[in-house]
């Protein structure tokens, strides 16, 4: 009786043991010396395997960083500390690291939107978008069924008032929402962007006025207001070049539709430290807003009412006397 249990178990167990030993010997024989840094780099990466770096998972990126010199800041999810650690492992500089965040560029909530028809179909953005370009009058509007929220691995997206909303603190910038949005209105922007355009409509101004209360009418006032040439209206929609943007927020102030969001936490004012100022006057010539006054060889001062916090003066100051203070 007992044999009928023991023999099969012994056979299978014995087979397993034999193969195990053989494989162990073979693995010794065919072993590969991997670069130990791959494991160390892999430790620093977040391990979410989101794939937003373009490599197959965190293992793939770690291998690419060590072996083929992929840029260390390829990972958009890891925080600055982790990247610095990787940089020190690789003996290189981390490079300029820009943390990104997903932004839903639409404000067509219940107050602002114009509705074309009453949609009662499947609760899915792609399905809704397929019916006459969606129930909202604007063909670039957020349809609010939350396809983006469904794919978000961290639950950072919620739909409020018919528009998707991204929680910046939870967003890991994997970009899945942007790829799944049938309207293409989710963009990955720098997390520290001072101004964000909250509309993706390429329609002409008249059409936008008829379809939404909060859409960009491509009036071009933001382009004119920008003294740093950072905004260009392309195809009826302003585009911000964040490399040129100084965060003066003049565009947002001038926008008649208030569709440029400004980060109130980023509003800054320049402050001149009298003890360091030698009165060279470079700051005054640099200021494009006429906010600095004073006499050469004496001290200069900033008029807080006129200062927009663009930081041009601080860049030009040779004595490091100007600091930008957040309001």
């Amino acid at each position: 009786m007992l044999e009928s249990f023991l023999i099969p178990a012994a056979i299978i167990g014995g087979l397993g043991l034999v193969f195990g030993v053989l494989l162990a010997v073979a693995s010794r024989f065919f072993s590969i010396q991997g670069d130990p840094r791959i494991d160390q780099v892999r430790e620093c990466l977040p391990g979410a395997n989101c794939g937003s770096c373009g490599f197959p998972g965190c293992d793939g990126l770690a291998k690419a960083i060590v072996e083929s010199g992929a840029p260390i800041n390829s990972c958009t999810v890891a925080n600055a500390d982790a990247l610095k650690k990787i940089a020190s492992l690789m003996g290189t500089d981390a490079g300029e690291f820009k943390q990104l965040v997903a932004v839903v560029a639409c404000r067509s909530n219940e107050q602002n939107m114009h509705v074309k028809y009453n949609y009662q179909g499947i609760e899915d953005c792609a399905a809704a978008a397929a019916v006459c370009e969606g129930y909202k009058a604007c063909p670039f509007s957020c349809l609010g069924f939350g396809n983006c929220a469904k794919v978000c691995p961290t639950g950072a997206i919620s739909v409020r008032d018919n528009v998707a909303f991204v929680d910046e603190d939870k967003c890991i910038a994997c970009g899945k929402c942007a790829s799944v949005c049938p309207r293409g209105i989710i963009a990955m922007l720098p997390k520290d962007a001072p101004v964000v355009i909250q509309c993706r409509s390429h329609s002409r101004g008249k059409e936008v006025r008829e379809s939404c209360e909060a859409g960009c009418i491509s009036c071009g006032l933001c382009e004119k207001a920008c003294k740093f040439d950072a905004i260009k209206v392309v195809n009826n929609l302003p585009v911000i070049d964040y490399d040129k943007c100084h965060g003066c927020m003049q565009c947002a102030q001038k926008c008649p539709r208030k569709c440029i969001w400004l980060d109130t936490a980023m509003v800054k004012k320049a402050f001149i430290n009298d003890s360091k100022c030698v009165g060279c006057g470079r700051c005054k010539t640099a200021c494009q807003f006429d906010a600095i006054s004073g006499e050469i060889r004496q001290s200069f001062s900033v008029d807080p009412a006129k200062c927009v916090g663009c930081g041009e003066c601080a860049e030009k100051c040779a004595k490091d006397a100007i600091t930008l203070i957040r309001q």
């Binding site: 056979i11 299978i12 087979l15 193969f19 073979a26």
Partner: protein
């Protein structure tokens, strides 16, 4: 019938007439998954061929010398899977050592050979047909070559499909499945070769 004629018959049968992918629909996962490029498809085909041939031999030995004498036929499936898993591990080690590029491009499909039903299928068919060791080896080897043939042909077709003007709805996987179906129909042409 002479031994040679018999082996030829088995070879043609398992390679063309009863092709594992095209006639028995075994091993469809790697067939669809790794047939994107001819180079990786060839690598996968060779790996599967090797594993199928080796698995045929080892499973035949396990069956004839171990399971059958002890009357443990019911352990066949689990014992065979054990043999195949060990073999695949072994093949994986060899490929990783001697061709890292192939190892990378095969990716997750390499360990998936373990659960590839073409490999287990050939092992079990060998036993059910009461093949000798030599016949089993022939069946496994040519079955694998049949898989290699099918996957390389498929990869060739898919490489050309890349540049073809395909209707939007059929792009990607759907057209691949249609192509696979047409290939299976084409392979039906061999069915008259062996009675």
């Amino acid at each position: 019938m002479s031994t040679f004629a018999n082996l030829t018959l088995i070879a043609i049968s398992s390679m063309l007439v009863n092709n594992f992918v095209m006639a028995k629909f075994m091993g469809c996962c790697p067939f669809l998954g790794v047939s994107g490029k001819i180079k990786t498809a060839t690598g996968m085909g060779v790996a599967v061929t090797f594993v199928m041939a080796m698995a045929s031999v080892f499973t035949w030995m396990v069956q004839t010398w171990l399971l059958a004498p002890l009357g443990l036929d019911y352990l066949r499936t689990i014992a065979f899977i054990l043999v195949i898993a060990a073999l695949v591990q072994f093949v994986e080690m060899i490929i990783q050592k001697f061709s890292p590029a192939l190892y990378d491009s095969l990716g997750v499909y390499l360990p998936l050979i373990t659960t590839n039903c073409a490999v287990l299928g050939v092992a079990i068919l060998n036993i059910e047909n009461n093949y000798t060791l030599l016949q089993s080896l022939t069946n496994g080897l040519f079955g694998g070559l049949g898989f290699l043939l099918a996957i390389v042909l498929m990869a060739g077709i898919r490489e050309r499909l890349e540049n073809a003007n395909i209707p939007q709805a059929l792009r990607g996987f759907p057209i691949t499945l249609i192509a696979a179906g047409l290939m299976a129909i084409a392979f039906l042409g061999f069915s008259g070769m062996i009675k």
